[in-house]
């Protein structure tokens, strides 16, 4: 059996069909009408400009996280610490905002500096994970997980401690920023910020060009495929790993800053919103190809937003979207494995 383009498509479509079939079984088992459930998710995501703009609001941080992860995956690293990097981006953005607000500085300048501070926060936290990996020999998965917990703890400490609301520490977060410091939206009623869309699109284009059109990207791939061989060929492997960590951290930090300046307008305990983990699923689903990241991230964001309709209309738990996302990744990965198995078998023959 040859590993042709048609065969790849066949296995990928097969994986998606299996995932849908399993989710449908879950729906039928819970006595829910599958067709109505899927239709409600679709209408909840694409039924009007208002709901679609909510999808785009969710798409921006997810795409930014995915963009960063594509680089670390390319160099062979599982940057599971991305959740903490998003959180630190949000913390740095909030810190900049709190330091500059009310001081007479131009609001646009304050917002810009906060977003840049967010990127810096993400870079620093990612570099820490990179340093643990490079100089401490700590696997990036364990180091990243540990740093995620530390980031959450720091975030909570700030919300309940130094940055708490006057007299009241609240899980609803810090005091909201002045309206002038919210990232401008399309209209007064809209949540969608054109500048955040521009940042996300620029980010994925940059990653696409970096990976597929530059010498840097080629070297990243070389390190990812075989670090030892890359090193022997003269590629400074640890520097490339640290650089990919730093760029991923910048993207994660931007995602955190956008959560603060465009979505919640304050720092909240779950500010990362799980976009880091979701971004990993998107990156795996697209098999680490940047060209597919934007549409698949949009699909995941649509599932998240559209599934809100399930409890409203059908009294179903909206975690069904998570079931579908998880099974999609699982079955597409299984399908990839099956394709490679058959391709190898075909090659031997």
């Amino acid at each position: 059996m040859r590993d042709s383009r048609g065969m790849r498509a066949f296995f990928q479509v097969g994986g998606i069909v299996f995932a849908l079939a399993l989710t449908t079984v879950v729906l039928v088992a819970s006595k829910a009408p599958p067709f109505a459930a899927y239709l409600n998710i679709a209408l909840g995501a694409f039924g009007s400009w208002e709901v679609f703009s909510n999808v785009l609001v969710s798409w921006v941080p997810l795409l930014l996280a995915t963009s960063g992860l594509l680089l670390t995956f390319t160099v062979g690293l599982w940057n599971i610490g991305i959740e903490g990097q998003i959180t630190f981006g949000a913390i740095f953005a909030t810190w900049a905002m709190r330091s500059l607000q009310g001081g007479g500085t131009d609001p646009a300048f304050v917002i810009m500096l906060s977003i840049l501070a967010g990127a810096l926060g993400g870079i620093l936290w990612a570099m820490l994970a990179g340093a643990l990996k490079t100089f401490g020999g700590v696997n990036e998965i364990f180091g990243g997980l540990g740093l995620n917990f530390v980031a959450t703890a720091v975030n909570l400490w700030l919300i309940f401690g130094p940055w708490k609301r006057p007299g009241i520490a609240s899980m609803s977060g810090t005091v909201p920023f002045d309206k002038a410091l919210w990232l401008p939206t399309l209209t007064a009623q809209s949540r969608l910020s054109p500048s955040s869309i521009a940042i996300a699109v620029a980010g994925i284009v940059l990653v696409y060009v970096l990976i597929s059109g530059t010498h840097f990207g080629l070297r990243l791939k070389a390190v990812g495929r075989n670090p030892r061989a890359a090193y022997l060929l003269g590629i400074p492997t640890w520097q490339y790993m640290m650089t990919s960590f730093a760029i991923c951290g910048a993207f994660a930090g931007l995602a955190g800053a956008i959560q603060v300046t465009a979505v919640y307008h304050r720092l909240i305990p779950s500010i990362s919103s799980g976009y880091g983990y979701l971004g990993m699923m998107v990156a795996m689903l697209v098999n680490y190809r940047a060209a597919l990241a934007a549409p698949v991230a949009l699909f995941f964001a649509a599932l998240n937003v559209g599934s809100i309709q399930l409890p409203i209309v059908l009294k179903l738990d909206s975690s069904l979207a998570g079931v579908l996302q998880g099974t999609l990744v699982l079955f597409v990965l299984l399908a990839q494995g099956a394709r490679e198995f058959f391709a190898r078998k075909g090659g031997k023959r």
């Binding site: 009408p33 959450t152 309940f160 401690g161 009623q189 304050r266 937003v305 809100i308 409890p311 209309v313």
Partner: protein
């Protein structure tokens, strides 16, 4: 082929009709809950109240979203979710948690044509600290201080070790005044009914960090309750929205320990552990919600704040009392008699929020004989003297 086409058409129409439901109702209102709708706590008390509204107010229909918190619904905001309810026809939205207050204000200001009930908040309380002019918003809260005082009486008469614990959510104005109310009730029963020295009563508060357990974020309420029972506290009064205090008491009672618990929020929360539950102070939101929704339907809506007390004729009357105390079958005869006596005294004007009241740091809050104003109770700055535990989060 035609049959298949017809079948698909029928399925499509059925789905579309399901999607479009609610459009034909006279008055659709929506409810946002912070926890699961069936949590046997705060969220369920609100959910059941909206079912009461539908039963008592012809022409109304209810839609809801539960688990409205950033941990369960990442990337969403309460105002965005409220808009989802409006898109399904809701003309009024109930934001049923203090944690949604920023988003409720944002939503109410952005949608002046939609009525908003912000439960447990003070945003439109003219005499409050945070008064805002939001014509389409009403604040509703029950005077749970009474329920908590009654719980304190039941706990004080029941405890064998003289140690009562309070499993608190997070420290804020509301939770401080509720924990302090339990203490005031316990202190009253301990000194007046049992004639014991107040220095022999230990009362400890531990805050878990939120209204319910969020693994990795809050302290685990199960663990906190266990710590209480293992360190001599034999009655745990719950201030959180879920029932860990009761479930852990059941576990320890099964091991032969004489321990009890007092859950919170929901009238049937004692059913989680009938053998250990002394009773539950609960909210009955239904009557206030009916009144607010009827005023919206009839054009008589006015923005206001209401803080509703019990109906002293019968604090468990579902049609008239905003808070109640559902006593457990395990409540001893002396404790039940104490509770009855205390309720009778309250109904005749007994006021425990009266000086001398001293704060935890030794500051006199109310001089001898001075009754607290509503504002002094609502915005209690610290726990009271005699309570062990943090007054503010650190």
């Amino acid at each position: 082929m035609r049959k298949i086409n017809r079948f698909i058409l029928v399925l499509f129409l059925a789905a579309v009709s399901t999607v479009a439901f609610g459009q034909s109702s006279n008055f659709t209102f929506g409810l946002l809950m912070v926890g699961p709708y069936n949590d046997h706590g705060w969220s369920q008390a609100n959910y059941d109240a909206t079912q009461y509204v539908v039963a008592k107010t012809p022409g109304t229909q209810m839609i809801y979203l539960d688990k409205v918190n950033p941990a369960d619904r990442p990337g969403t905001t309460a105002s965005q979710l409220a808009e989802s309810l409006v898109a399904k026809g809701a003309k009024l939205v109930i934001f049923s948690s203090d944690d949604m207050s920023d988003e409720a204000v944002k939503f109410a200001q952005a949608h002046p044509d939609i009525f908003v009930i912000m439960s447990s908040g003070d945003q439109v309380w003219k005499d409050g600290k945070n008064a805002k002019n939001i014509p389409n918003m009403v604040n509703i809260m029950g005077r749970m201080e009474y329920g908590k005082m009654i719980a304190g009486v039941a706990a004080a008469i029941t405890t064998q070790t003289g140690q009562i614990a309070y499993l608190g959510p997070l420290a804020n104005d509301e939770t401080r005044r509720l924990a302090s109310s339990v203490y005031l009730g316990a202190k009253y029963a301990w000194t007046k009914y049992l004639n014991r020295d107040i220095s022999k009563l230990k009362f400890k508060v531990t805050w878990i960090g939120y209204w319910f357990n969020i693994p990795g974020v809050t302290s685990d309420p199960t663990q906190v309750a266990d710590d209480f029972f293992n360190s001599g506290y034999d009655v745990v009064v719950s201030g959180i929205d879920t029932t860990e205090a009761v479930t852990e008491a059941v576990k320890y009672a099964a091991q032969g320990k004489r321990v009890w618990a007092i859950p919170y929020d929901y009238v049937d929360a004692i059913k989680e552990g009938n053998a250990v539950s002394l009773g539950v102070p609960y909210f009955n939101w239904g009557p206030a919600y009916v009144s607010a929704i009827k005023s919206a339907m009839t054009g008589k809506w006015t923005s206001h704040f209401e803080w509703n007390g019990p109906d002293w004729k019968n604090i468990n009357n579902p049609d008239t009392s905003a808070v109640g105390f559902n006593r457990g079958s395990v409540l001893s005869k002396p404790a039940a008699a104490g509770v009855d006596k205390f309720i009778a005294e309250l109904s005749k004007g007994l006021n425990l929020w009266k000086g001398p009241i001293v704060l935890q740091d030794g500051t006199t809050y109310l001089k001898d004989g001075v009754a607290a104003t509503d504002q002094q109770i609502w915005y209690l700055p610290q726990l009271l003297q005699g309570i062990e535990g943090q007054s503010v989060s650190k």
